[in-house]
Symmetry: C2
Subunit: 317 residues, 2 copies
Amino acid sequence: MDLPDRVHVDEVLPRDGLQRLDEVVPTPKKVALVDDLVATGLQSVEVTAFSHPDVVPNLRDAGDLFTALDRRSGVEYHALVPNRVGAERAVTAGVDGIDALVTVSDAYARQNQGMTAAENLDALDAILDVADDAGIPVEAGLATSFFCPYEGPVDPERTLDVAERAVAAGVDAVSFSATAGMADPCKVADLLSRADERLGLDAVDAGLHLHDTNGLALANAVTAMREGVRRFDAAVCGLGGGIVFPAGLDTVGNVPTEDIVAACEAMGVETGVDLDALLELARQVRTDLGVEPWSHALAGGTPAGMLAATGGPGPDG
Amino acid sequence: MDLPDRVHVDEVLPRDGLQRLDEVVPTPKKVALVDDLVATGLQSVEVTAFSHPDVVPNLRDAGDLFTALDRRSGVEYHALVPNRVGAERAVTAGVDGIDALVTVSDAYARQNQGMTAAENLDALDAILDVADDAGIPVEAGLATSFFCPYEGPVDPERTLDVAERAVAAGVDAVSFSATAGMADPCKVADLLSRADERLGLDAVDAGLHLHDTNGLALANAVTAMREGVRRFDAAVCGLGGGIVFPAGLDTVGNVPTEDIVAACEAMGVETGVDLDALLELARQVRTDLGVEPWSHALAGGTPAGMLAATGGPGPDG
């Protein structure tokens, strides 16, 4: 199977994973978490979001958190930004990069950001103004690239219209987000093939942000790798999900970092991440945050985990 | 993406799912379960195993169960068989087909069946003798086709040696089993490509039996569909796993039928199964058996489930 030799995993637990939690995690604990994540070999972390503090109270310490980070060289500490004010705060805080939230579906933009999709594109222009002045790279994270939790399926050409508009506005990279976790390998291959035709996958440094509501996130990741995509967001313990999603829908989380890293390891695709260290951290996160992750690797579902459980090698091994 | 128009889902809950349960399910309840499964559109059910009653006590009622079944025309009611005695019992019970258990790994054959892999092939010959006399088709289910829980990775050429031997002995079909749930898309594509070269995938009516220990079962299924495989085992609620596997390894179950059916529906691949009816049955199974399935569709992870949870269509929908 034709897969990339290496993929880049961008860890989004501190932003996407924590934003939905009932309890607010104290800043020093977030600092330690980011450092622990980087210690496993992850080279890129979405540390927080510069959202309105009333809208996402769990991330209201975004500026303080960046100030308190113990940064390592070679690691990219970036943040989600929804609008100009957020961009200004992010630049002041010294982010390495901005992930501009650009929602394709109008209904989701209204629910999640209190603006229309058209207003969201205006906000992108404003974010780019601020980022360009500061010399900070911007990735457009295209929310609801496949499916809107309020409208249903999203036309891929609509998604690509938005992507094209973002590229024309000057973003450095594009990431297609399965916000609702309802993508499937056919839709992923179709969108990526259309994106390659209209924009060039390499030209826009295409990435994927995969939620796993339908259980197809890893299938989607493998499909995308076969199409040549080499950048994937993921969250330790698979935490995450839109702040406006109803509680109780436990599977809306991101693809677990430990599962995608384990899958890559099985398939001979390098990630630079130490799986054992990552699993140890995932166990710690599970305990610290009191969560019950839908994470196969964490549940023992790795070759090493299974051999340990059976006591293998067996009688002949 | 090039996928089959239609795939055949073989439901294995009554055998693979029930064999590991702590409590024994009474025969009339099994009869009702099989009937409920068939009512959702499933056209093939692995009803039980004709194993030694001391080894798999939960399935000791195999003969009585077959007698009590209310069979519908067009549906294949078949059973797993480990040896000649099992085949004789299965024929007497009137099975439509025999799934001969043929284990590739020596260590697993010893642990699971108390015989060597070589003795297992002799047992296959004996099963075929009995089945041929009765005019009943036999599928070889190749356990540990990818990974042995006691030995680790299994050489694909070793798996194909066993498959070739089974075909030479006269089996009508071959199913490759990810018994340990440690297959990945690369290994699946590699094994299937080698199998096509050595045996012909269509010639052996190749199928897959996918456990989901590592979370890649759906990715493996999609990969296999792209290679032209059209037969997949699955279990409602994703129950299942080898009887010798340690307790507590919750993810060793089969790919959930509701998840593979939902995935097929999303991708436009027909299964003939009514997803709504299947989900209703899965909810009932969850309650009746008191299990907590790792099943995304059952947790609400379908387009309909998500729109119901959000109350969508939203303000603009």
